[in-house]
């Protein structure tokens, strides 16, 4: 490439780079620096080296929230993708109301996470309890009051919200399926299940990569739905990492410690994200 082109390239990039440096890179470096101090949100405090990092690996609550988040992410990713794909198959089949259904399924994704949390809280606590009272089921009346129901409450909420979004991705891939192959399959007398298993499924596989990491990053960094649905309760057992970090900072006023947790969290999310890029690239070569 020509030198001058390089220059104008960098010049065009400069405003963005400047903005990125100011609002992302500098705060992040500062944050990393703070994680090595005893910062309490008011004064920076003394340099304490790796103390915060050592403490957090012994912090049961942090590890519990990390484990809870991981469990939640795995279950949600699987469920959301199954539901998303099923919905996509429904709305791409030849049924009359498919456009209406597409809109309806996508709708939950347009409501803010906080509001969704409160809506579902009402459903779990009030509606479930009333139904439970009617059919005389004790377990229906304790939703969100136990760790298990809190966990499943969050999973249901997230699946309901994200499935519609993931559905859109699958629709794009499903509609791009080559007609010839499908026709050939029909002529070869494959039944609907066989067509799905041996033709559709392998061909939409790239969509899995995209959807999987979209859902993974969404569920891993979850905060607002967690806050409004369970707020970490009962006894902080449904607390995800983002919320645990927030509480460490703003309820316990241990800002530097929270910062150290955030750095570790960042590292985990970064590894997941890089892994995704790697997988996507590999698949592109294959195709």
């Amino acid at each position: 490439m020509m030198r001058t082109r390089d220059l104008s390239y960098w010049l065009f990039l400069a405003p963005v780079l400047l903005a990125l440096t100011l609002v992302v890179i500098v705060p992040m470096l500062l944050g990393v620096y703070y994680s090595f101090t005893s910062w309490n949100g008011i004064v920076t405090g003394s340099f304490v080296g790796l103390e915060n990092y050592i403490a957090l690996f012994k912090d049961e609550r942090f590890l519990a929230s990390l484990w809870f988040t991981t469990k939640f992410s795995i279950v949600s990713v699987i469920l959301i993708n199954i539901i998303g794909l099923s919905l996509a198959l429904i709305v791409t089949s030849k049924i009359k109301t498919s456009n209406l259904l597409r809109t309806t399924f996508f709708m939950p994704n347009l409501i803010g996470g906080l509001i969704l949390g409160f809506i579902w809280q009402f459903i779990f606590v009030k509606v479930f309890a009333s139904v439970g009272q009617m059919i005389g089921s004790e377990s229906m009346q304790t939703w969100l009051a136990t760790t298990e129901t809190g966990f499943w409450g969050l999973v249901i909420l997230m699946s309901w919200q994200l499935a519609g979004y993931i559905m859109v991705i699958y629709i794009a891939y499903l509609e791009g399926l080559p007609k010839e192959v499908m026709e050939a399959a029909q002529l070869d007398c494959m039944n609907a299940f066989q067509r799905f298993r041996f033709i559709v499924f392998p061909l939409v596989a790239p969509a899995f990569t995209v959807s999987m990491f979209l859902t993974l990053s969404n569920t891993f960094k979850l905060y607002d739905q967690n806050l409004s649905l369970t707020a970490g309760g009962p006894y902080n057992s449904t607390e995800m990492v983002a919320m645990e970090i927030f509480k460490t900072a703003f309820m316990q006023n241990e800002f530097a410690y929270a910062q150290a947790k955030a750095v570790i969290f960042f590292a985990i999310v970064a590894v997941v994200a890089l892994f995704q890029v790697y997988l996507n690239k590999r698949r592109e070569v294959e195709m």
């Binding site: 001058t4 390239y9 065009f12 400069a14 949100g41 304790t142 006894y235 309820m251």
Partner: protein, 434 residues
């Protein structure tokens, strides 16, 4: 062509960068322009959302009387949010002149930003004991907002119909008796249950209820609690008994109950007879049933078996602080405003009638207190029949996040009471030995 490209790029890049910088700078100018030459601007950053409108009205009144003072009020609600917002405000350099602090921990954190308020008239007029949490080496660093108190709020009509005389409830035994009577007449009275224990709200259990049983071992003094290396749960058994009583006779499941369900849905709709809350619920109840709020409720003490069974926990929820980093003129103007609010006739009227505060200062005509809960709390405070508020002296996060969470575990049967106490003791000592 190439040259043109470079020039275009340079121009575009410059324009964009300049635009961005201009956007950042613009705001500062705007705020700077508001300050007149002789006018003193006092930024007030406060947390009590409930009285925002009334407070702003009072500030406007003050500005009219003192044209050289300009009060800029910002309100950010809720305990946690306020602390976070205040820190960001200071970090950004846009420091308020007047802000709020909660107790000894806040005083320790903000020490270098706190102006000494010992010479204010309000500090002189503050009632005995209300300045304890904000006094360091006999220097007063904060002025109390008001007084608040809590206990068992009961529905007088339901008590009457069940044939219970509230005056006869003087200790745990008689309380338990009354609860059992109410429970046996649930059907006739139209009650879901006797209590509504909001297990979800860790501040109700972890801060308020625990305070009642921990205050005695810290001599009812917040500073003693703040300095204590450990906590013994001397009245732990009494604590457990009251918690059990509330839980056993509560609407279930208690862990799903929050403040709004407890106060608005269950108590205000007369579906439960007793709740553990404080005078701040007046507004919530009045919003649903004005008559009930004005004449249908009363307050019972939370009995601490083996100690005092008739004391009402009364304390100061929040203090005003003045930022010592501001100019001398701003600090003076801030002090004058606070003095005026709590000691002038206009101020007093507003505090009592508009804010509906239980005053933490002398010289108020307390016959003007209208709601029954405030009246009872003020009467108890005057008679000295109180238990102190020491929860502001707990280790940060201990009350709600540690003890409150353990109590939730206990309520679901996941932990025994011994485990709750044990974990709480350990966490306290661990925090204080840092």
């Amino acid at each position: 062509m190439e040259k043109l490209n470079v020039r275009k790029g340079l121009l575009a890049s410059l324009a964009l960068s300049a635009g961005m910088l201009a956007a950042c700078g613009a705001e500062e100018e705007a705020t700077g322009a508001g300050t007149g030459e002789d006018q003193v601007t006092v930024d007030v950053f406060q947390f009590k959302v409930e009285f925002k409108d009334q407070f702003e009205k009072l500030a406007a009144q003050y500005e009219e009387l003192n044209p050289d003072v300009n009060l800029e009020i910002t309100t950010v609600g809720g305990g946690e949010d306020y602390g976070a917002a205040l820190r960001s405000k200071f970090a950004s350099g846009d420091e308020p002149a007047i802000f709020n602090i909660g107790g000894p921990q806040d005083v320790a954190d903000w020490k270098k930003n706190l102006a000494v308020l010992s010479d204010t008239k309000a500090a002189d007029a503050a009632l005995d004991g209300t300045l304890e949490g904000v006094t360091v080496e006999s220097e007063v660093l904060g002025l109390p907002y008001n007084q608040e108190g809590y206990g068992f709020i009961y529905n007088t009509r339901l008590f009457e119909e069940a044939g219970i005389d509230p005056a006869s409830i003087t200790d745990f035994a008689s309380l338990e008796e009354a609860v059992k009577t109410l429970d046996s007449k649930k059907e006739e009275l139209g009650l879901d249950a006797v209590f509504a224990l909001p297990g979800k709200e860790t501040w109700v259990t972890g801060l308020h209820l625990s305070n009642t049983f921990l205050a005695p071992e810290f001599d009812n003094n917040v500073l003693t609690a703040f300095d204590a290396k450990e906590v013994a749960f001397e009245y732990g058994d009494a604590f457990k008994k009251i918690l059990d009583l509330q839980n056993d006779y509560s609407v279930q499941p208690t862990l799903s109950l929050d403040y709004s369900m407890q106060v608005e849905e269950l108590f205000s709709m007369e579906r439960v007879a007793i709740i553990q809350q404080g005078n701040w619920v007046y507004g919530s109840i009045a919003g649903i049933d004005q008559e009930l709020a004005d004449s249908g409720v009363g307050l019972l003490p939370i009995p601490v078996e083996g100690y005092e069974e008739g004391g009402i926990p009364v304390g100061v929820p929040m203090y005003w602080a003045v930022n010592s980093n501001e100019d001398e003129a701003v600090v003076e103007a801030s002090k004058e405003f606070l003095d005026w609010m709590y000691t002038s006739e206009e101020g007093k009227t507003a505090v009592l009638e508009d804010f509906k505060f239980i005053p933490a200062y002398e010289g108020y005509d307390t016959t003007k207190l209208t709601d029954p809960l405030s009246k009872e709390i003020y009467a108890a405070a005057e008679a000295g029949n109180t238990i102190g508020w020491v929860f502001m002296g707990y280790p940060t996060g201990w009350g709600q996040d540690q003890l409150g969470a353990s109590i939730q575990k206990y309520l679901t049967g996941e932990a025994s009471w011994e485990e709750v106490e044990g974990a709480a003791k350990d966490a306290w000592s661990a925090d204080r030995s840092k």
